[in-house]
Symmetry: C2
Subunit: 419 residues, 2 copies
């Protein structure tokens, strides 16, 4: 199953091309090559180097298996399983054989490019245990496709998503004792790719590491939904046209913390990112956002979310909600819209009695109902009764999606049974 296909989405560019540019950071490289500005395109990338080959996986079992934590003590992303999956890549060799090893530290030179230029991207996905004890993933091909788009955007290598999914399955099976049996529990998986080249020169990394770690997690809402409140942010901007806000890059996260802390300091759980003078509603914290309103002109029930215009993270849960809404809500008379909408449009819907509900969408909670949004010194109420913690659409979506994730809808194409 050794594969020989192009590894990179930009096959006409090669790692061996001359960095003779006037970067402050490529001074001496330039010094060595400033007389030859030629571009050695197609020199080696894309021909004859290895893609991921799952048959070459090696496994080193831990000799010190961890004790399982009581489920109620699980903290998101804090505790990890016994092992990790890792694959090294070099520009000259492609993907080296995958290894499952005991969970262990990475030892990296302090000049490694991941520490300086944010050559890093990741995915969030989960493994579930169904009633029969099978291990299931949810739409893993979506995560692999997105990781490839993220990595290509920052000049990291791409890979065969199906082969990687196969490897993730083997890893999860090895550590499946960490997946609690109960509904609501799962194993959060974090595929991560980092540039590992040891140089301060700014250029495409000639080596990278793709690794997967796994953290057992409990239900997002152990006692049922809990609606959140948001603060609309207009002084800071998460993403912009021509930027990278649609990719799952580390670069999109660190700059969001201070606005999040500022919202929290005023008592809001998350901030809501607006964009432009029009104050388009884009995303909430680290989730996509949906709103259900009655259309102003037609009175039709409309499920709204921002379109994938390059500033919106292409959420797997977002896509799943849209798919289910088109399949199961449209026949009930709903309109499902991927379109731009403004904060004023939401406020008007609230003022005019047309607001039904608002919720975030992401891997951890599936959906996260919103009670109110602070905007321009007012609070926009999002349609929840005082005693309610979720609207009917949020509840329905959570039930549908979890039903598929935990294998209740047997044979659903979104559920990937690990064999």
């Amino acid at each position: 199953m050794l594969q020989h296909r192009p590894l990179r989405l930009i096959p006409s560019l090669s790692h061996s091309f001359t960095y003779s540019a006037a970067s402050e950071l490529s001074a001496s490289v330039r010094r060595r090559s400033s007389r030859a500005y030629s571009i050695h395109a197609n020199a080696s990338v894309g021909t004859g180097i290895q893609n991921i080959d799952p048959s070459k996986l090696s496994i080193t079992n831990t000799t010190t298996p961890k004790q399982l934590l009581p489920p109620e003590e699980l903290i998101f992303g804090r505790n990890f399983t016994d092992h990790m999956l890792s694959l090294e890549w070099t520009a000259s060799q492609g993907w080296l054989p995958a290894r499952i090893t005991p969970y262990q530290n990475l030892s990296l030179d302090p000049a490694t490019c991941v520490f300086h230029y944010a050559f890093e991207c990741f995915e969030g996905m989960k493994a579930y245990k169904d009633k029969q004890g099978n291990v299931r993933l949810f739409r893993p091909e979506m995560n692999m496709a997105r990781l490839n788009k993220s990595s290509a955007r920052i000049a990291l290598p791409t890979f065969d998503g199906a082969a990687m999914t196969e490897l993730i399955g083997k890893f999860v099976k090895l550590d499946e004792r960490f997946i609690p049996e109960a509904r609501g529990y799962s194993l959060y998986l974090r595929p991560t790719m980092i540039g590992t080249q040891r140089t301060l020169g700014v250029g495409p990394p000639a080596s990278a590491l793709l690794y997967v770690i796994a953290s057992p997690v409990g239900p997002y809402y152990p006692t049922g939904f809990k609606a959140v409140s948001l603060e609309a942010t207009d002084y800071a901007v998460r993403a912009w046209p021509g930027g990278v806000g649609d990719k799952k890059l580390g670069a999109n996260y660190a700059p969001c913390i201070v606005p999040q802390m500022q919202a929290a300091s005023r008592g809001f759980h998350q901030n809501l990112w607006l964009f432009g003078e029009e104050e388009y509603v884009t995303e909430v914290g680290t989730m996509n956002l949906f709103a259900a309103i009655k259309n102003k002109e037609t009175g039709q029930s409309e499920l709204l979310t921002a379109p994938l215009d390059g500033t919106i993270l292409e959420g797997v849960t977002r896509d799943s909600i849209l798919g289910l809404a088109r399949e199961r809500l449209e026949p009930q008379g709903w309109k499902v819209s991927e379109r731009r909408f403004t904060m004023k449009e939401l406020a008007d819907a609230a003022d005019e009695g047309r607001m039904m509900e608002v919720f975030g969408a992401g891997t951890a909670a599936v959906v996260s109902p919103v009670r109110k949004i602070s905007w321009k010194s007012r609070l926009v109420e999002c349609g929840l009764a005082d005693h309610a913690e979720a609207g009917p659409i949020a509840q329905q979506m959570k039930d549908w999606i979890e039903g598929i994730q935990y294998g209740d809808e047997d044979g659903h194409p979104w559920s990937y049974k690990v064999v």
Copy 2:
């Protein structure tokens, strides 16, 4: 010299505040705290925890000193000195005592936040040897101030810049044998701060590492200037108002590589970042940009650079050129302007015989002359005669600044003599 002052630019926010937000990434934290949304502001940060104290520095000398490379073999950012300087920070204790140790790998858990959310920022600065053998830094307070602004923007800790400069001086003195004596050579210093908290939860890191590594570098242009050609980029956008383009974050670099590679694939050394429908000229690659033109209305010689509007990196070389131009060019009749200018304005100047010269400005080259810019299927010539590799202003600025850096202008306030 133990100091007790606020460490963080956002002293009203604490690392201990409750992360109950609906982030997909804070699921279980939320689970544990979703009933208490209170913010524990001012709990510990800013009171009674340590700032950097240079008197507590410990030094462990290497037992395997490296051989010096022949100067002509130096490659930027590839080879490092014998030692490194590092300081750990924790939210509860502040800055722990600084250590100089042998240069060594960092050992980090694969869940460390720097690998996932780009909690990283850095500086570029240089140490020079003057004719008397003294070691000199160039405006180090500018780098320390900028690093503090960068770190605060991504919820990393701030620090006493003067204390850090003192420590950097001790580090550089210890490894001063790596600074070649000859003019044009220097020791590139890379102060770097990374978040080191071991969690996938998205929040302010409760621990960080500030380290400095040093790479001996040769002259940018060993045989004199070499003018570069640029490609104006309009399909990708480096920075945005309300974004973080004015901070020296890792997050600003990885997304710039593919546009740089695409410019290179068409034979250009760097890309020039335009902004907006107006096509404002912002920065070139990893440098600031200056243009010298004859003003269209007055005929006056004008030195132009983009203003610090939040999208422009606040370059130390940029600031130095502006300062010298105001001090030494304005008396000669020049106008010095920090203002927005468009690509069309440059093209018009070229077409109308008013183009004098264009150059990039950064730490490595001081200035980097530009011969031509590709823009909308045309080439804008930037005023250089065919045989010339630099215009007179670029040459003058390089001479003035290097004169200060290497201590020729003794007592100049921009040169910091390490004692």
